[in-house]
Symmetry: C2
C-alpha cells in the first residue's frame, strides 16, 4: 500500500487539446469513413458561408471530390469560395491550431463558433493519410494569393507549415481571382450516396442558404448545381454584449476582476446589453452599491448582491430593476418566405406552411425558432415524416433521435392535426416533411460535431409552440379540403343526377322537364368560395381568382378578405374589384348583395414574387352565413394581425438602434421574454 498514491500520481501529465481531439476524433464528427467526408465538407462550407456573410459577399462555393486511391479509401476534397480570404500570417493559425478563432467570445449568430472545425479536418487528414492540407487564399488588397501546406503538431496544438509562397490565382477563364480561399485536403474517407451524403448535405444547405450558389462535382465528374434563388444576403448580425439574465456568478466575478472600467456605473453601462441608464441606477440601488464605487473595491458579497439584483432577487423600490430584452439584431432568421421557397423547390408537395416565431431569450441568449411543414404530393404516406433540422443555417444530419428539435416534434400529438402517430408520441407518419430551424447566439449542441441540440426548456417550448401552431394550420387545410370535397361531390351529384332523373321522369311520364335551379339551390343551401393562386410564366406574376357562389335561397352580403405576402414585398395589381387594405397583408372587398343562384369573381395579380413563393391564398369573410372554402374573420385573427403589425414596426426600431448603439435600445418597448404567445402563420399557405 505504501507508496501507491505517489506511484499513481507520478504517471499524471497534461494532455494537449489537440491530442485530446485526435484520440476523440469522433467527437468532431470523424467516426466513420462516410461521415468523415461529410464532416470535412461541412466544416469547409460553413467557414465559407460565415466568411462571406461577415464580409457581405454573395457566396459562390465549389466543392470537388475525387477518389485518389479506391483500394485504400483515399479521397481528395477541394473546396473553393469567393470569401474575403485570409491574410497570410493568419492562415496557419486558422487551419492548424485548435480553439483559435474570432467567434468564440462574440455573442451573435454564426455557423462556426469554437475554432475547432476546419483544424479538425487538417488533423484528420494528417492522421489518416500523413498528408498536409494545401491552402490557397487571396485577399482583395494584395495582388497574389498566399499558398501553404498546413499540418498540426498535436503534442503542442501548433500548426506546422511547409512550401509557403505566393502565386497568381488563375481562374478557369484565365482571369485572376480577386478574393477567396481554397483548401485541398486528402483524407481516408468513403464517398456515399443516399440520405446521409455530401449531396444531401449540400441540398439541405441550399434550402436554408438561398443566397448561396453551390456547385458540387462528384467523384464520377458529375456536376450538381444549386442556384442562388435570392440576391438578398441574410440580415447582417451584430455582436451584442451579454445580458444580465444570462450571467453566472463565476462569470460576473471574472468580469469584475478583469474590468478596466472607471467605476460600477461604467461597468454596468459598458459591458451588458439591456442596461439603460435607469436600469443601471435601479441595479445599483437593489444591490446596495454606490455607482461610483471603483471596480477593484467590489468583491465577494458585493458581486453576489449585484448578481441577485441582475436576477431580480433584490428589489429597487419594491420591484426588480427594469432591464430591456437583449437586442435581436444578433440573429438572422431565414424568414418564412425563403423557407417556403426552399422547401417547395426541393420537395414536390401540395401544401406548405411556414412560421417564424418572434425571438425569445434563454439564459441571456436571444434565439428564434422557424418551422415549415409540407404535405401531400408524391411523398410516401406510410413512412415517418421527413425531419429536416437546422441550426444557424447549418443542416443537422446525424443523431436525429437525440436532438431537441426532434423531441419537440415527437412531443406533439399529431393525430389531432391529421397525421398518423402511434400512441400520440414519436415522429408521426404521413406524406409530409417538417423543417425546423434554430437561430441562436449560442446554439447548445450535444457534442463538438454539432449534430444534435442539447436539451433546453425554453427552446423546447418555443419549438413545440411553433409545431402546434403549424399543426393547426395543417388541420385547417385538411378539414377545408375534406369539406370542399364533400360539397363538391354533393354539388356534382345534384347538378348531374337531378337533371338526368328529371329528364327521364319527364320522358316516361311524357311531361315537360321541370325547372330545377330553385330546387338545387334549396338542396345545396350553401355559399361556396373557390380560389386559385397560379404562377403566370409569361407575366412573371402570381394570378389570384376568387369566386363566390350563392347557392342559397336568400340574398347574401359579404366582405371577402384575402391574404397576400405584403411583408415580403409583394404588390397587388390589376385588382379591378377595388376594396381596401384591411391590415398588414390582408386586403378586403365589400361585395354587393349576391342574389340566390348568382356568383361573383374577384381577380388580381401579385408582383414582386418568384415562382413558388406564393401558392395558396387564405380567404376570409365577414357576414352572417358561413362560407364553405373561407374562414370567418374573428377578433382572434385580427389581434394576431395587429400584433404582427406592431412587431413589424418594432423591428424597424431595432434596425435603427443598431446604428446608433445602446441608447436607442431603450426605444424597444417590451421584453421578448414577456411575449410567449404563438405567432400566427399569417403568410403560410394554410388557406
Amino acid at each position: 500500500m505504501a507508496g501507491i498514491a505517489q506511484k499513481l500520481a507520478s504517471n499524471q501529465k497534461q494532455v494537449a487539446i489537440s491530442e485530446f481531439f485526435e484520440k476523440n476524433k469522433h467527437f468532431l464528427g470523424f467516426d466513420s469513413l462516410a461521415r468523415s467526408l461529410i464532416t470535412a465538407v461541412k466544416e469547409a462550407v460553413d467557414n465559407a458561408l460565415d466568411a462571406c456573410e461577415e464580409a457581405r459577399i454573395l457566396p459562390t462555393i465549389r466543392i470537388q471530390i475525387s477518389k485518389i486511391d479506391v483500394k485504400k479509401d483515399i479521397i481528395r476534397l477541394v473546396v473553393e469560395d469567393n470569401g474575403p480570404g485570409i491574410p497570410q500570417k493568419s492562415i496557419e493559425k486558422v487551419f492548424g491550431q485548435l480553439l483559435f478563432g474570432s467567434r468564440f467570445h462574440a455573442i451573435r449568430q454564426s455557423r462556426g463558433q469554437q475554432g475547432i472545425g476546419i483544424t479538425g479536418v487538417v488533423m484528420y487528414c494528417q492522421l489518416t493519410t500523413g498528408r498536409t492540407t494545401h491552402v490557397r487564399s487571396k485577399i482583395a488588397t494584395e495582388p497574389t494569393a498566399a499558398v501553404v501546406d498546413i499540418g498540426l503538431d498535436t503534442r503542442k496544438n501548433k500548426a506546422t507549415k511547409a512550401n509557403a509562397g505566393r502565386e497568381i490565382w488563375y481562374q478557369e477563364d484565365g482571369s485572376s481571382k480577386e478574393h477567396g480561399t481554397e483548401i485541398t485536403a486528402e483524407m481516408k474517407a468513403k464517398y456515399q450516396k443516399g440520405r446521409q451524403s455530401v449531396w444531401q448535405y449540400l441540398r439541405m444547405t441550399s434550402i436554408v442558404n438561398p443566397h448561396a450558389e453551390i456547385t458540387f462535382i462528384d467523384p464520377e465528374g458529375v456536376k450538381h448545381h444549386w442556384n442562388r434563388v435570392t440576391e438578398r444576403l441574410p440580415t447582417k448580425v451584430e455582436s451584442i454584449k451579454p445580458h444580465p439574465h444570462g450571467i453566472e456568478l463565476g462569470q460576473l466575478q471574472r468580469m469584475v476582476s478583469e474590468s478596466k472600467d472607471l467605476n460600477l456605473n461604467h461597468f454596468l453601462l459598458n459591458n451588458f446589453s439591456g442596461v439603460t441608464n435607469r436600469a443601471r441606477k435601479e441595479l445599483c440601488k437593489a444591490a446596495e452599491l454606490e455607482g461610483t464605487r471603483k471596480m477593484k473595491t467590489i468583491k465577494g458579497d458585493d458581486i453576489r448582491h449585484l448578481l441577485e439584483a441582475f436576477q431580480g432577487e433584490r428589489l429597487c423600490d419594491g420591484s426588480p430593476a427594469k432591464l430591456l430584452k437583449p437586442p435581436t439584431n444578433c440573429l438572422s432568421p431565414i424568414e418564412e418566405m425563403l423557407i417556403k421557397k426552399g422547401l417547395s423547390k426541393t420537395i414536390d408537395s401540395r401544401f406548405v406552411t411556414t412560421l417564424t416565431r418572434v425571438p425569445s431569450v434563454t439564459q441571456g441568449n436571444p434565439f428564434q425558432v422557424e418551422v415549415g411543414l409540407i404535405f401531400g404530393g408524391s411523398m410516401a404516406s406510410d413512412k415517418p415524416v421527413e425531419v429536416l433540422r437546422f441550426a444557424n443555417r447549418v443542416p443537422l444530419m446525424y443523431q436525429q433521435g437525440g436532438c431537441l428539435l426532434t423531441k419537440a416534434i415527437e412531443s406533439v400529438d399529431w393525430r389531432q392535426y391529421g397525421l398518423e402517430q402511434a400512441g400520440g408520441k414519436g415522429v408521426p407518419k404521413g406524406p409530409a416533411a417538417i423543417l425546423v430551424h434554430l437561430a441562436s447566439t449560442n446554439v447548445q449542441f450535444t457534442s463538438e460535431a454539432k449534430e444534435a441540440l442539447a436539451d433546453n426548456g425554453e427552446v423546447m417550448e418555443e419549438a413545440r409552440k411553433a409545431m402546434l401552431e403549424m399543426g393547426r394550420g395543417l388541420r385547417k387545410h385538411l378539414e377545408k379540403k375534406k369539406k370542399m370535397a364533400k360539397t363538391k361531390e354533393k354539388f356534382e351529384l345534384i347538378n348531374d343526377i337531378l337533371p338526368a332523373i328529371a329528364e327521364k321522369s319527364a320522358h316516361i311520364l311524357d311531361r315537360p322537364v321541370p325547372e330545377l335551379a330553385g330546387s338545387i339551390t334549396k338542396i345545396m343551401s350553401a355559399v361556396i368560395c373557390e380560389s386559385t393562386t397560379v404562377w403566370n410564366k409569361e407575366t412573371k406574376q402570381t394570378d389570384v381568382e376568387i369566386t363566390l357562389f350563392n347557392y342559397t335561397s336568400r340574398v347574401r352580403a359579404y366582405t371577402i378578405l384575402a391574404t397576400w405576402p405584403e411583408k415580403a414585398g409583394a404588390k397587388i395589381i390589376g385588382n379591378d374589384t377595388g376594396g381596401r387594405k384591411e391590415a398588414l397583408g390582408v386586403w378586403a372587398w365589400k361585395l354587393d348583395a349576391l342574389q340566390p343562384g348568382e356568383q361573383v369573381k374577384i381577380n388580381y395579380s401579385l408582383t414582386g414574387l418568384e415562382r413558388g413563393d406564393w401558392t395558396e391564398t387564405e380567404i376570409l369573410f365577414r357576414g352572417s352565413q358561413d362560407v364553405i372554402g373561407a374562414t370567418k374573420m374573428d377578433e382572434k385573427f385580427l389581434e394576431e394581425i395587429r400584433r404582427q403589425e406592431k412587431l413589424q414596426s418594432e423591428e424597424v426600431v431595432v434596425e435603427d438602434s443598431s446604428a446608433t448603439g445602446e441608447v436607442a435600445q431603450e426605444a424597444i418597448p417590451e421584453p421578448v421574454v414577456a411575449a410567449p404567445e404563438g405567432q400566427r402563420t399569417l403568410f403560410g399557405g394554410d388557406a
Copy 2:
C-alpha cells in the same frame, strides 16, 4: 471590401480549453440542474472506484447531499472514499486543471480517461456559486491529511488554491483515517428522485461494481446502503501497447519521429503489442526495410510501407505478417455470475440469463461485450423493456436513443424470442430488463459527458450477437415453460378428473372402481423432468432436486445431465446418485431403466455460492424418447462446451503471459478476431 479580410482576422484569438468547456459545460453533462448533480456524483464516484481499483483496495464510498439554499438551488455534495489518496502537490492539478491525468495515454480499461471529469465539477461549482471546492486527501505514508480549496483560472486552465494546510482526519468513531480522499463541492443543482436520479445512478453502479460498498445520505437525511456482495476485486488490468492493426499513419509517423529506439527491430518489439520476433521479421520483410535501419533514417514512404505491412497490404512470402491478437489482460469484465447476482438482487424476476462474450478487437483496441436479460416477476408487461447500459462499469443514464448499445438491442427482431415489438424494430415491450456492458480500452462516447456510445461496426456486431444468443435462451425458456404448463395441466386433469369420473361411474353402475394407472400413463405418454434450484438459508448451500417421471408404457433409459457454475468456483456435494463430470460445468448421471409409471430423484447441493448466484439449473438428456422439461444433448451443445473449455485453458495462458511479458504472448494460439462465433450461455439460467 478592402481591408475586410484583415479586419476579420484581427479579431481572432486563442481560447483556453477551460474557457471552451466553461461555455460548453453541457458537453460535460452540466446541462440541467438535475443532471448537473448526477454528473458531479458520477465523476467523483468514478474517480474513487478507479483509484481503489488501481491501488487494489475494496472501495467504501460515502456520498452525502444537502440543500444549502433551497430558494436558489444551492446544493452541497460530499463524496468520501477509502482510496489511496492523492499526494499534496498533485491535488491542485487533478482537481483544477483540465486534461490532466494519468490514463489518457494508457491502453487499458478504466472509468475515467481524459482528465476532464472532476475538474469539470470544480469548474461548474465555481461558475454557478463562485465557490471553490474543498479537498481533503490522505495518503498512507503521511501522518496527516492535506486540505485545500481548489478553483480554476479558466483563462489559463490553471488551478487556483487557497487555505492549503494539513490536519488529522478524524473519522466518526474518533480514529484517524488511514487513506482516502474527500471532496466538498457546492453547486447550483436540483435533487430529484425517479428514473434519472442520484439514487438510481448509485443503484446501477452497485450492480456492476459488486465489490463496492456504497452509502448515500440524501437531502432528507435518509441513509441508503448498497452492500458489498463480493470481496473479490475486479481483475487487475494491465496497460498494453498499441496493436499494429489500430495504428493510423499520422500516429505511426509521430511514433517513428519521437522514437528513441536503437533501430527498427527494437522499435517494433518495444512499442507494439502482438509483435513477436517472428512477426517483426515478417513485417520488415513485407515493408522491404532492414531491421537494423536507424530510426532517424526512416521517413516518408518507409513509414507508409511499414503501415501497409501492419495492415496486411504488403505480404511476406505471399501472406501477411502474423501478428498476435492484443493481450486481453487490459480488460476486466464483470463476469456472468456477478451480473446475474447484481441483476437478481436489484430487480425481482423469474428468469435471468447472462452472457460474457470473448474479447474482440476494433481498431487495435480490445473490447468485450457482456449482456444480461431478466424476465417475468413483477415487471410491467405493456411497457418497453428497461435498458440498463454500462461502459467500463459506469452506468449510462442519458441519451439512450442515441447510444450504440440501444441500437444493438433495437436491431434484433425480439418477436421471435417471445417479446412484443412493433414491426420487429425498436426497443421491445415486455416484462423484461436488458443489461449490456461494454468493457474496452478505448470506449468511444458521443461526447465528453460519456452518456452514449458512438457508432462502431465491430462493437455493434458483438453486442448484436450477444443479444441474439440471449434471445434464443429466452425463447427456450418461454417455450419450455409453455410446454411444461400444458403438460402439467393435462397431467392434473387426468390425475384429478379421470379418477373422479371413474369413481362416480362405478358408484352409479354399482361396480368396483377400475385401476387407472395404466390408462393414465397411456394418455400422458410422456417422460417428464422437473427440477428445483433453491437457496438453503441454514446450510448456505444451493439445493438442487431433479425428478424424472416415466409416464409412458415402456421402460426408459436416460443419461441426465445438469449444468452447474463450475467456472465460478462452485462445488457439488451430497450427490448420492454418483455420476461423473461430463465437461466443464456439466455433470452426468446414467440412470437405470425406469419402469412405466415410475419416478427417480437426483439430489445434490452446490457450495461456494452466495444467495442469488444460481437460481435455475439447465437439465439435458441423452436418450431416444424426448423428455419434457429437459433439452436433448446434441453435438452443437457439446461443441460449445469444448470451446468453453478451450477458452478457459487459453485464459490461463494469457494470465501467465502477462507476468513474463511479450514472449509468452506467442503461446496464444489464435487471434480473437478470428473467433466471431457466439459463445453459448452455458451458465445462464435458461434451463
